[in-house]
């Protein structure tokens, strides 16, 4: 626990495409990286953020100033690897203090090949992004020549039009069985169903960059889950005889995922659909709506969302959103962000589909919206029952 890295950290620089430079020192992997620079206001949960595939291609700046305090552990990974393109913090803890920690963050990032930069004025950087919008950046802890790095930043990939889901998705379909670790859930809604003998609905979950906690929450609710690659077709999905389809979160521009939009369009009405984040945007697009890139997005664990007359404090990570007025009239906007009025959830009762822009699986963040999983399971069970009735009648 008291082990500290002894080597002197090298100087590092974060350069933005607008030419501003933010000096610091390197940690994690000593090297270079480019990505879209975004900030996250969560005060806890850096490990979940680092391993969330939705951050693929992004350099994440944490607004909380002291990061790494509790180290990293095998259970808090949200996927099999780290996805952030780079990680920027005000101060990194040289030690890890938590009974579950196995590795300090520095070492963890190094092992996962993530370039980190610390010691920069993160608040000023965040204000800059807030005012100028998310933009491309480059970090180097090997060559801090500003002109070179600014060029590197400008040569980085533009998020607009980037189809990243295809890059982070799984290669092959696979089964998911692991549920949540019950010790983290004290509220009864998140516990496994009382009746284990109940029929286990089969959920086909599209992996556009899916977070493990989504799959765990579904599994804990008694679902059989098949996770499929992003490019799986509607026919392939229907061949698996799903009781419901889940559209996962993921990185990049939703409009670029034309294949997934098409697939979703074909699945609509055939089976209950639940989408989260990118999955929500894909559903919106499949329904005929439009998406847009936000100035700097929502990333944090404290966003107020109004739904059903109540406010949920929710976990967010999105740089794109669905245009409210682009949606056809049969689409209900169920969730609205109280900070900026942005669409956070929609429902199409006629097609048995609904989605939310934010993260009801939390991890990190508050658990206020976990009822959405119950809502999905209810829809799935109702659908399965009526389907079997149809069968019996047919």
């Amino acid at each position: 626990m008291w082990h500290r890295r002894t080597t002197t950290p090298p100087p590092a620089l974060l350069a933005l495409e607008d030419g501003t430079c933010w000096p610091g020192v390197g940690f994690g992997k000593i090297g270079e990286t480019t990505g879209e620079v975004v900030f996250n206001t969560s005060m806890t949960g850096y490990q979940e953020i680092i391993t969330d595939p939705s951050y693929y291609g992004q350099i994440v700046v944490m607004t909380a100033p002291q990061i790494g305090n509790v180290g990293t552990n095998p259970d808090d990974d949200e996927s099999h690897r780290a996805w952030v393109a780079g990680f920027a913090v005000r101060e990194l803890s040289p030690i890890a203090s938590n009974y579950r920690s196995r590795k300090p963050l520095d070492e963890y990032l190094n092992d996962h090949g993530v370039v980190g930069i610390m010691g920069l004025s993160t608040r000023a950087l965040v204000k800059h992004i807030r005012e100028s919008g998310a933009m491309r950046g480059a970090i180097s802890s090997v060559n801090t020549d500003p002109a070179r790095l600014i060029e590197m930043a400008r040569a980085g990939r533009d998020m607009n039009g980037a189809d990243l889901a295809r890059e982070v998705t799984c290669d092959e379909p696979y089964r998911w069985v692991e549920g949540v670790d019950a010790q983290w859930y004290v509220e009864p809604t998140a516990r496994p169903p009382d009746d284990p003998s109940a029929v286990q609905p089969h959920i086909v979950a599209f992996d556009f960059g899916v977070k493990r906690n989504i799959l765990r929450l579904l599994a804990s609710r008694g679902c059989r889950i098949t996770v499929v690659p992003a490019t799986t077709t509607a026919e392939e999905v229907l061949a698996m005889q799903p009781d419901g389809v889940f559209l996962s979160n993921g990185p990049g521009d939703p409009a670029a995922c034309t294949y997934a939009i098409e697939t979703t369009r074909r699945l609509l009405g055939r089976t209950p659909i639940f989408g989260i984040c990118l999955g929500h945007q894909i559903l919106g697009l499949a329904l005929g709506g439009r998406t847009y890139k936000m100035k700097f997005g929502h990333r944090g664990g404290n966003q107020p969302v109004r739904a059903n007359g109540r406010v949920e404090i929710s976990s967010h990570n999105h740089g794109f959103a669905v245009h409210a007025d682009s949606l056809p009239p049969d689409v209900e906007i169920t969730h609205v962000n109280l900070n900026d009025g942005c669409v956070e959830g929609l429902r199409v009762p006629s097609r048995n589909a609904f989605s939310v822009q934010y993260h009801p699986e939390a991890s990190p963040g508050p658990h206020d919206a976990s009822y959405l999983f119950d809502q999905f399971i209810q829809a799935v069970r109702a659908h399965a029952q009526s389907a079997s009735k149809d069968c019996a009648q047919g």
């Binding site: 607004t63 305090n69 803890s93 004025s121 965040v126 664990g301 406010v311 109280l338 900026d340 206020d368």
Partner: protein, 1122 residues
């Protein structure tokens, strides 16, 4: 997006029109001015919403009791019978009990249970009795938690010591063998166990017991302290990590966590005595969200439908197991801290929720654009460090435990924990310029160090740093303290920085290292001390400052914005750091003024001075100034971000104040690059007590304009010798006096003056280390203490005027004219610190002739010193001669009391004078007339320090005050006593035990009591003396004479009032045992004959006529809502 404003169409309750708000009463340990902050917020916002606000609070030194804060303000004792009278008179529709601490909750419960609320049709809002009881009754709470699947520590509620012993497997035989309790609970716990009395404040009466003897003693005390005679005996979770969540819930079941707070000190130390950090630093998201879910369940289980609560948890560091410890269904000390730490005004929002709003309907004050239904995100670290006053209570147990003992706190904000901790320590004003040595000598061995840091005390943080400096490994420090390793690692980093600094002289100090030290919060003064002396000797803090500025290492000021910069914020709530990119945006169009606050509360400097600072703010804002507040005390109204136009949450050190001043004056750079100021922002130092006064001269020397009384005049009044010359010149008598810089000198001076003498250090407040010395042997002891308290300052020695009586005058002056605000007569005789003495207005015993002399002296002194603003003069009258004891050209402790009694806002007038107005222009030319009698009584914290020596003396020990007013002195005094928690008996038994000097004067008191039908008991000497004069007194044994003795009578509740006057200084006599027993058993105790005779008058008045209540507005003819 548009600004969010409360929509008038929104569903605020329209079925209620008037709301009664109960304040928290006098400042006591565990319940301080954070409740003035909360109550003032609630009054303000509900009044703005159009409700008629009826306020009752016994504490005159509060902002909330300013007549403009409520439609009707009652400064009356907080008892059921008086509140019933207020309800009967005002007929409020609703009662809001959640902003007045446990006091208000307990009163609300009593009013409800006695059917008074129902009788008058008053609705309880913001809380319900069931929730209040559930949260406070530890057994019910535990059951409710368990029913909802949450775990609490093992334990049981007991009503007797025998039951408590049974829990740990000791059968005393007192419980019947078939008792269900015995059967169910026998031997369910192991030592150590925690004792927590039900329904007490600040953990009062709580403790940890490691043995049978300790359990017997502490359980017995807990049972006495608990108003329901119950304590919870609980499995100790000593060493577990302690967390708190500040949460809010509305009627729609919206729920937010405003702030998470982590305690550096693990379980076992009351959170009020812990160093605390926000946000929680050592939890994974999984663990934090679990606590959040648990808090949500707690709110629901307790039944808090709307409002703010505080939920405390213990977390096992080895496996993460989380237990619910307790919850407070109201705003609390922690919620005040959380409000200041996050910018989320919990009390204000709780008040709005209580009248029917929901969180999403209320705008976030700071961003104006987002709603209050969110959870603040902090991009900084907040550290709170308590301040204790053990030095004032010789004999008190300095070990920290479940009962809160601190009297104040500082909060600091930094970009990192290190920066915030360093700033907090500098703000404490305990003579530390950094986290330097504990100053208790180097312990001999590592095991001695470990033993030392294993015991939580006020010194522990400093001892831990010393231990690490001495080379004790972080592992062993962790093992001894159970501080989370992450914090210890942060300490190690700070010590490494110290070591790096110590390698350099000022000249060789590299920029990066200096920047790093500043980013870690090191003060310039501490850096100067750590550096190696250069060729020109040791560096001074000014040299470090100059070098730092030359190197361009300037503070930047960041905003507390609730959202980690995600949204723009419009509220200038600022803290300094060294990350660059200043956000302070000072303006240079409008005139501005800086007001220095009072820093952490301590005995002698508390809420009264904050009251004055706030008044100065309001007055200057009205004059068109932009007001800028600097303070570091999170409990105060002055640090509410909407009190001043700009708030800098900074330590009140020269360095931090100058940083703000330079920034606000537009001064950048240093040396040749130093820019000329864009404005010379004036600074006010006379409102925040001694803290800003101590900075005045240095600020002036630096070129800062000090408005109001000049630092020279302040120094003149403080400098005994010069001041004596002034009085000689004015031909005003002063007790003979002298100053001494050494013990020899002191002996000489004392001999010359003649014993008894009054000895004290100069430049301290509250009579710190002040004492009456009767002979040369005692003198040495006092001189040593005085030089320790105030090192380089001379010791003052005065003739002690025995049997004189004292008066206090508060006045304002503008340099041309002096106008008296009020003359107070002390009820206790001379020798008792004026801050500890009850006093009354108008004076009763003093002739008009002497009053005129007093007026004349006050005027002449004020003019001679050139006072521009407030001044306070203390007088003594002995043998028909009026003496001046001291003059303080600044706000005084009694300023708010006088202002409340007279209706004249003295502090506001003083602020306007400081800004250049004359008394004539203001229209305050005559001493205000009084209508009726006003008595101020003090509250002493001896019940928190059961082993401390009880005696009133020249060193101030009280924590708070109340006011009683009525048309007769007797009623006013009785109300004041009642407000202070002392119920005067109207019949019963009185125990008399007085020293020989007092015997002649006890005769009348005893006779009066006898005539009113009281039965009198007396210790042998007193009884025999009184019997000789025909007063029937039954003699009882002294303790040494065997049972049944005096203490037995007190212990058995057979005595209803004790008059016991101590003999001499620090004499441990039987009297001490009597007084200790009286405090322990909550029997009214009077230790001076003047107080006893006032009590007799009060009892007589009470027997003759019932109390009446009268609002301040009615009193001063203020019509509300023009």
């Amino acid at each position: 997006m548009n600004r969010l404003t409360l929509n008038p169409d929104m569903p605020k309750r329209t079925d209620i029109h008037s709301i009664l708000i109960i304040g928290s009463g006098p400042i006591v340990i565990g319940q301080a001015c954070e409740f003035d902050y909360a109550g003032a917020q609630a009054c303000k916002v509900l009044r703005r919403e159009g409700y008629r606000i009826i306020l009752v609070n016994s504490n005159p030194a509060t902002i909330m009791t300013d007549p403009e804060f409520a439609d009707v303000t009652y400064i009356e004792p907080l008892t059921v019978e008086l509140i019933e009278k207020i309800i009967a008179k005002e007929r409020p529709d609703a009662l809001l009990p959640t902003v007045g601490a446990q006091t208000a909750l307990n009163l609300a419960t009593a009013l409800e249970e006695q059917g008074i609320l129902k009788q008058y049709g008053v609705q309880l809002i913001g809380a319900n009795v069931r929730a209040i009881k559930l949260a406070e009754d530890r057994q019910l709470f535990k059951e409710a938690m368990e029913a909802h699947g949450l775990k609490c520590p093992q334990g049981a509620t007991v009503g007797s010591v025998d039951e408590a012993l049974a829990l740990v497997g000791i059968n005393t035989g007192a419980l019947p063998g078939d008792s269900p309790f015995l059967r169910a609970q026998f031997s369910t716990l192991n030592f150590p166990v925690l004792i927590r009395p039900s329904f007490t404040l600040g953990g009062s009466g709580g403790g940890v017991a490691h043995s049978e003897a300790e359990l017997r003693e502490k359980c017995a005390r807990g049972l006495r302290e608990s108003p329901v005679g119950q304590v919870l005996v609980e499995q100790s979770v000593l060493g577990w990590k302690e967390y708190e969540l500040e949460v809010m819930r509305d009627y729609k079941d919206n729920f937010v966590v405003v702030c998470s707070i982590e305690n550096l000190d693990p379980m076992g130390v009351h959170t009020g005595d812990s160093i605390t950090i926000a946000p929680a630093m050592t939890l994974t998201d999984k663990e934090l969200q679990r606590l959040r879910d648990m808090a949500k369940i707690v709110m629901r289980a307790v039944g808090v439908e709307t409002g703010g609560s505080n939920v405390q948890f213990a977390v096992n560091p080895d496996n993460g197991e989380a237990l619910v410890i307790e919850m407070n269904p109201r705003v609390s000390r922690s919620s005040a801290l959380a409000s200041k730490a996050t910018g989320f005004p919990i009390a204000k929002i709780a008040a709005l929720l209580a009248v029917g709003y929901s969180l999403d309907e209320i705008p976030n004050d700071i961003t104006k654009k987002t709603p209050a239904s969110f959870e603040p995100s902090l991009d900084y670290v907040v550290v709170k460090v308590p301040r204790w006053a053990f030095e004032k209570f010789p004999g008190a147990d300095p070990t920290l435990g479940p009962q809160m003992k601190s009297v104040g706190e500082v909060m600091a904000i930094g970009r990192t924990f290190k920066e915030a901790l360093n700033k907090a320590v500098q703000g404490l004003e305990i003579g530390k310029i950094g986290i330097a040595g504990a100053g208790v000598g180097e312990p001999a061995s590592e095991s001695a160090i470990e033993a030392q840091i294993a015991t939580p005390t006020a010194q522990r943080l400093f001892q831990v740093f010393d231990a690490l400096r001495c080379g004790l490994s972080p592992e062993r420090v962790h093992a001894a303290t159970k501080y989370d390793p992450w914090f210890i690692e942060q300490f190690c980093q700070m010590i490494e920085t110290e070591r790096a600094l110590a390698q350099h002289t000022l000249d060789s100090l590299p920029r990066e290292l200096l920047l790093q030290a500043k980013q870690e919060g090191f003060g310039d003064a501490y850096i100067a001390k750590l550096l190696k002396p250069g060729a020109a000797g040791a560096a001074s803090w000014l040299q470090v400052r100059a070098k730092r500025r030359q190197l361009g290492i300037l503070p930047s000021f960041y905003r507390v914005d609730t959202c980690a910069a995600e949204f723009e914020s419009s509220t200038p709530y600022l803290y300094s750091n060294y990350d660059g990119f200043d956000e302070s945006e000072p303006q240079f169009q409008k005139p501005k003024i800086i007001i220095l606050g009072g820093g952490p509360n301590r005995i002698g400097q508390g809420i009264e001075f904050d009251y004055c600072c706030v008044h100065a703010c309001y007055a200057l804002r009205d004059l068109g100034f932009e007001t800028i507040m600097i303070n570091c005390n999170p409990e105060t109204v002055s640090t509410d971000y909407d009190t001043a136009d700009r708030l800098y949450f900074e330590p009140l050190t020269l360095e931090h104040v100058l940083n703000v001043w330079e920034s606000e004056s537009g001064i950048a750079g240093e040396g040749a690059q130093r820019s000329s100021p864009r404005c010379l922002t004036p600074v006010l130092v006379q409102f925040g007590g001694q803290t800003p006064l101590n900075l005045a001269q240095a600020l002036k020397d630096y070129g800062v304009p000090i408005w109001g009384t000049s630092p020279d005049a302040i120094a003149l009044a403080e400098d005994r010798q010069k001041f004596a010359e002034v009085l000689r010149e004015l031909d005003i008598p002063q007790p003979e006096n002298g100053t001494a810089m050494s013990l020899d000198e002191a002996r000489r001076v004392a001999a010359q003056i003649g014993y008894p003498v009054l000895v004290r250090p100069s430049y301290v407040l509250g009579g710190r280390a002040m004492g009456i010395v009767y002979g040369e042997e005692e003198l040495q002891e006092y001189i040593e203490e005085a030089t320790r308290v105030s090192p380089d300052a001379p010791v003052l020695i005065d003739r002690y005027l025995e049997d004189s009586f004292e008066l206090d005058v508060d006045a304002v002056a503008d340099g041309e004219r002096v106008v008296i605000g009020g003359i107070m007569e002390q009820i206790e005789e001379a020798g008792v610190h004026s801050g500890d003495s009850a006093c009354m207005m108008p004076p009763l015993k003093v002739s008009e002739y002497h009053l005129n002399i007093i007026r004349d002296y006050t005027e002449r002194i004020g003019l001679r010193l050139g006072v521009k603003g407030l001044m306070n003069v203390q007088f003594a009258i002995k043998d028909e001669i009026v003496y001046v004891l001291e003059v303080n050209p600044r706000a005084s402790r009694t300023t708010p009391f006088v202002s409340k009694a007279t209706g004249v806002p003295l502090a506001k007038i003083a602020a306007r004078i400081a800004a250049g107005q004359t008394l004539e222009a203001i229209g305050f030319l005559d001493e205000p007339k009084l209508d009726g009698f006003f008595v101020k009584e003090v509250v002493l914290p001896f019940n928190k320090f059961p082993s401390a020596f009880y005696q009133l003396g020249p060193e101030m020990r009280s924590t708070g005050e109340v006011m009683g007013h009525a048309s007769t002195f007797g009623h006013a005094y009785a109300k004041a006593e009642l407000g202070a928690g002392e119920r005067l008996p109207s019949s019963g038994r009185v125990l008399l035990s007085v020293n020989d000097n007092d015997k002649p004067n006890i005769i009348k008191i005893a006779r009066d009591l006898h005539r009113m039908g009281f039965e009198l008991l007396g210790t042998r000497g007193t009884a025999e003396f009184l019997n000789r004069f025909g007063v029937p007194v039954v003699a009882v044994n002294k303790v040494s004479e065997g049972s049944p003795h005096v203490v037995d009578y007190i212990r058995r509740g057979e005595v209803h009032m004790v008059i016991s006057t101590p003999l001499g200084q620090r004499a441990y006599t039987d009297g001490q045992a009597i007084r200790a027993a009286a405090i322990q058993h909550r029997v009214l105790l009077l230790t001076t004959l003047s107080a006893a005779s006032a009590a007799v008058q009060a009892i007589r008045a009470m027997r003759a006529k019932d109390f009446k209540v009268r609002s301040l507005q009615a009193h001063h003819g203020i019509t509300s809502r023009p």
